[in-house]
Symmetry: D2
Subunit: 281 residues, 4 copies
C-alpha cells in the first residue's frame, strides 16, 4: 500500500529523492576550523535565542551555548510574528550582531530570511539560511534561494504534507542549490496542551524518500521547555541529523518564545543525554 | 466561554475588530460604470479560470462569465504550484491579457500576487489584489500591501486559526490599507474525498469579530465541481459578501484545477440559485 | 480524480450507496398523527434540551419547542460525559420523563443510547434512537441496532472520514435496519473559537454517495449559540433533511451545554428563517 | 502558559494525576513465573498478530515472539473493523486459542474487549484487557472495567486530546480499578503517507500529568512496517514503559494489518536495538 505511494512520490522528486540510494547528502556549514557538517553520519547541535535582543545578550549566549556543546548558533533577526504589534526582530542590525557573536566564538550562524529583498545580506553574513514554516510555500523565495550557493534549511510548513515539503525542497534543488537541510518542527494539532505535534515519524520517512539531511526543532515542535530535552533525545533516536533548540539565559524575560526556551545549563545536560544515543544508533 | 475569548481577541485587533459595531466596511473595486462594491449589503460574484492560459481563452471566458452573471473576473497569472515542474502561470504576460479581457468586458479583475517584486505591475493593472493562502503569513508581503491604496483580498491560510487570519488582516490595516476583504477557502482536513474542509462557520464568526467583508471560495474549499454550486448557495445563506468560483470552458483540459471548475452554463445556473437566497437573508 | 474515489467507495457500500440513484430513503418516525418523515423532500426540525433535567423542565420545554415549530423532541437521558464527575444524565428515569413529554405534546422523541444493555427500554420508548459520535464505531452497538426495527440516527464520529461514517451505516443496513438517518455534527479542528468545525460539504457529498437522509446538528457543530441559527439556515441551503438544535429555557443554568443552546424564542425565529430557504431549494 | 493549563487539568484528575509526585504506578500482568511488570522502571515488549487466525498460527507466533524477546503476547479475537464485510475476528474461539498459546509459552496475553457482554470471558482468560481507540469514550464499557480487578490498557482515541484520554482513565480509576496502562497509538493526521501521526510527545507529557505507565504502539501509530522499528526505539528514548508491535510470520498474507506487521526476525532485531536505549535512559 505505502510502497506504491512512496514510488509515485519519488517520481515527482527526481532531485530530492536522488538516483542512487544509500548516498546521503552532507551539508557543510561555515568555513575553516569551525566548519560543521550535517548529514551522512555527521550530527550537529544548533542553539541560541529565538530573537537577537541586544549585543550583550547574543554574545553571552553564544559563549554559553558553545560551552554547553552547541556547534552552530541560531538567532532570529527578522521575526515572523502573528501580530503586527509584537516585537518584529532587530532586522539587519540583528544580523550584524550575529556576525559579531560568530567572530567572538567561531560558531557558524543560522538565521531566518523572510524576503528576497534581504537576500544579499543573508548571503554575505549568514552561514545557514533558514526558510521558516510560514514561507515553506513562498515559491518566489524558494526560487531565489535555489539560485544561491549557500546552505539552506527548509522548515516544514505547519500543516504541510511530506509531499508538499519535499516538493518545496525540489524547488531549491531544481534551481541548482543542493545544500539543503530539511527541518521538522511540529505540525498543527487539536490539543492545546502543546504548541504543535512533533511528527518524529517524518524523520525516518523522509530518509526513505530522500538523501537530504533532516533536522528536528523540538522547541517549536512542543512549545514546552519541559518536553524539549526528552523529545530532542527521541529525535536523535529516530535518526535526526541535527537538533535545533531555543536557549535563553532568562527564559522568563525573553522577548519571544520564552516558554519553550532552555537555559544554557539545560542545554549542557541535553548534550550529555544525546551523546550515548548517537553512539548506539 | 466563547464570549470571553472573543473579547480577548478583539482587543488584539484594534483595527480589524473596529470601534463601532454595526458598521460594515464596503470595499469598492474598479472604477466608473463597472465598479463593484463588496460588503455592507453589497454582494458580488467573482468567476474565471484558475490560470490565464491564452488571450483567446481569457477573453472568451470573460465574456462567458459576464453573460452568466459574474461581475468580477478572476485569473491566475502567477501561480503558486506545489511542484516546480507544474505550469507556473504566464506571469506578467498573463496580467496583460487580463487587462485586455477587462477592456473588452468592463469586468474589474482579481489576481494573486506572489512577491513584492511585482507589486508595481499589480497596482497598475489589477483591481483587487489577492494574497493567497500560502502567503497569508508572508509578513513582508502583508507590510508591502498595507502601504498600497488598492483593495486587497486576503485568503485564509489552509490551517490558520481565525485569530491568525485576522491578525494578518491587522497587518494590512495597521499599514494604512483599509480596503480589505477576507476569503475563506477551506482548511486542511483528514478526508481525501474533498480537497479541503470548507469552514462556513468562519463567515458568521468573522462577522461577529470584524467589520470586514467575507468572501467564500467553494472551488478550493471543496475541490470538487459537483459540490461547488451547493456550497456556494450555502455560503450565501451563511452570510458571505461574495463568492469566487473557478470557471473553465473545458474543465477537462484546464492547465490547473480542472476538476474543481464549473462550466459557464453551470455558473449561470448557480447565479440563478443564489438570487433568491440573497433576497431572503 | 474524485469520481474514481467515489466509485471505489460505493462498491464498498452496497446497501448504503443503493442500486438505483435518484431514489431517496424516507425515514418515518413515531406513529399516528404526529408521525414525522425525514428524507425524500420531507424536512424536520428537532429541538430540545441537551439533558432531561426534571419533569417540569422537559414538559415545559416540549411545549415550548412545539410552539416554536419543532416536530421532534430531543432530550438526553444517558449522557456521554468526558469526565466521570460531570452530570451523567437521569438514565431510565429520563426516558420515562421524555415519554411523558411526548404524551403531553404528541412530539415523537429522540434520545441517545450508550449501551446495548438498555436496548429494550429504547425500543419501547424512543421513536428515533441516536448513536452518538463517540459510539460511531462501537461495532457491537451497531450490530445490535441493525437487528432492531426502529429508526436510528447515526452521528458522525468527531474525526471520522465520510468513508468510515458510511461504513458504520452499512453495519446497520446489513443487519437489516434500513431506517437510518446520518447526522453531521462537526469534526475536530484546531481552532478554539468554535467547539468543532461544522463540515457542511458532507451534506451534498453524502447525498451523492447514498440514498439515506442527512441531518445537521449546528449546536455541537459550532458549540456557540450565536452561530447556531445562521449555520442551521446554511445547512438547509446545503440540502439537510433535518436540523437538530439544543434548546433550553435558561441556557445559563443548563446542566450541560448551555453555551450552545438556543432559547425557545430563538428557535421560533430560526424556524421563520428556514421556511423560505426550504421553499426555494 | 502551559503550567497553568497542566495545573487546571490535574485538578480535574484527582486519581489519575495522583497526590504525590514521583511515585509511579507499576502494573503487574499475569501470575507466577511469567508475571510481567510495566511502569516504575519496568519495561515490557508486547508482540503478536493483529488477529488470531488459527491455532497453529497463534501458537507458532507465540513461540516466535517469545524467542525474539517479547514478554507479553497480543492477539485480536474480537476485531473492530471499519467495514461489516471485513473479517471480524474469531471471537470467543480466538480467546480460547490465545489461552492455549499462553499455556504453551507462559506468555501472559493481551486482547481487546469490544462489549461488556463478553466481560466474564475476558476476566477469566485475558491478563491485560485492552480498550481500543474506538471505545476510549465508550463510557459504559469504561464503567464496567472500572469495577473489574484486572489490568486494563486504555488506547488513546484517534483524535482525543490528552485531557479526554486521561479523563477516560479517570473513569477506570474512580470505579476502583487502579491497574491502568495508557497506550499512545497515533492520532489522525492529514498525510496519507502514514496511517496516523504517532504523537511521541504524549509520552513525557502524560508522565508529567500522571503516575500511570505509558505504552506506545508504533504499528498503528505509523501503519508502516518500515517505520515501526525506528519509531519503537524513539518511543523508548521518549520514556515509554512498554512497546506493543504487530508481528506476523507472513505479513503479506495476514487477514488484517499485514502492511504494518514485523516478522519475528525483525522483532528480534528491534529488541536488540531497544536494549542499549533502556540502559542509558
Amino acid at each position: 500500500m505505502f510502497e506504491e505511494k512512496d514510488g509515485l512520490l519519488k517520481r515527482e522528486l527526481p532531485l530530492v529523492s536522488g538516483k542512487e540510494s544509500g548516498c546521503a547528502t552532507v551539508v557543510e556549514i561555515g568555513e575553516g576550523e569551525s566548519r560543521v557538517a550535517i548529514g551522512g553520519g555527521h550530527f550537529a547541535m544548533i542553539a541560541g535565542p529565538c530573537s537577537v535582543e541586544s549585543e550583550s545578550q547574543i554574545i553571552s549566549l553564544a559563549h554559553a551555548v558553545k560551552a554547553a556543546g552547541a556547534n552552530l548558533l541560531r538567532g532570529g533577526a527578522f521575526k515572523p510574528r502573528t501580530s503586527p504589534y509584537d516585537f518584529q526582530g532587530m532586522g539587519i542590525e540583528g544580523l550584524r550582531l550575529l556576525v559579531k557573536a560568530k567572530e567572538e566564538t567561531g560558531l557558524p550562524i543560522v538565521s531566518e530570511i523572510m524576503s528576497e529583498k534581504y537576500l544579499d545580506y543573508f548571503i554575505e553574513n549568514v552561514d545557514l539560511i533558514q526558510i521558516g514554516s510560514r514561507n515553506m510555500q513562498n515559491f518566489e523565495l524558494l526560487k531565489a534561494l535555489g539560485r544561491v550557493r549557500k546552505p539552506v534549511m527548509l522548515k516544514r510548513g505547519f500543516s504541510s504534507t511530506i509531499r508538499e515539503w519535499l516538493l518545496s525542497a525540489e524547488y531549491l534543488l531544481s534551481g541548482g542549490n543542493s545544500q539543503v537541510i530539511l527541518c521538522e518542527r511540529g505540525i498543527r494539532g487539536f490539543d492545546s496542551l502543546t504548541r504543535n505535534v512533533l511528527d518524529l515519524s517524518a524523520v525516518p520517512l523522509v530518509k526513505r524518500l530522500s538523501h537530504l539531511p533532516v533536522m528536528v526543532d523540538p522547541s517549536h515542535g512542543t512549545g514546552r521547555s519541559d518536553l524539549v530535552p526528552t523529545m530532542a533525545v527521541a529525535a536523535v533516536a529516530a535518526g535526526a541529523d541535527a537538533i535545533m533548540v531555543e536557549v535563553h539565559d532568562n527564559p522568563g524575560e525573553a522577548l519571544s518564545d520564552g516558554f519553550q526556551s532552555l537555559t544554557p545549563d539545560q542545554l549542557a545536560d541535553l548534550c550529555r543525554r544525546i551523546e550515548p544515543v548517537l553512539n548506539i544508533r
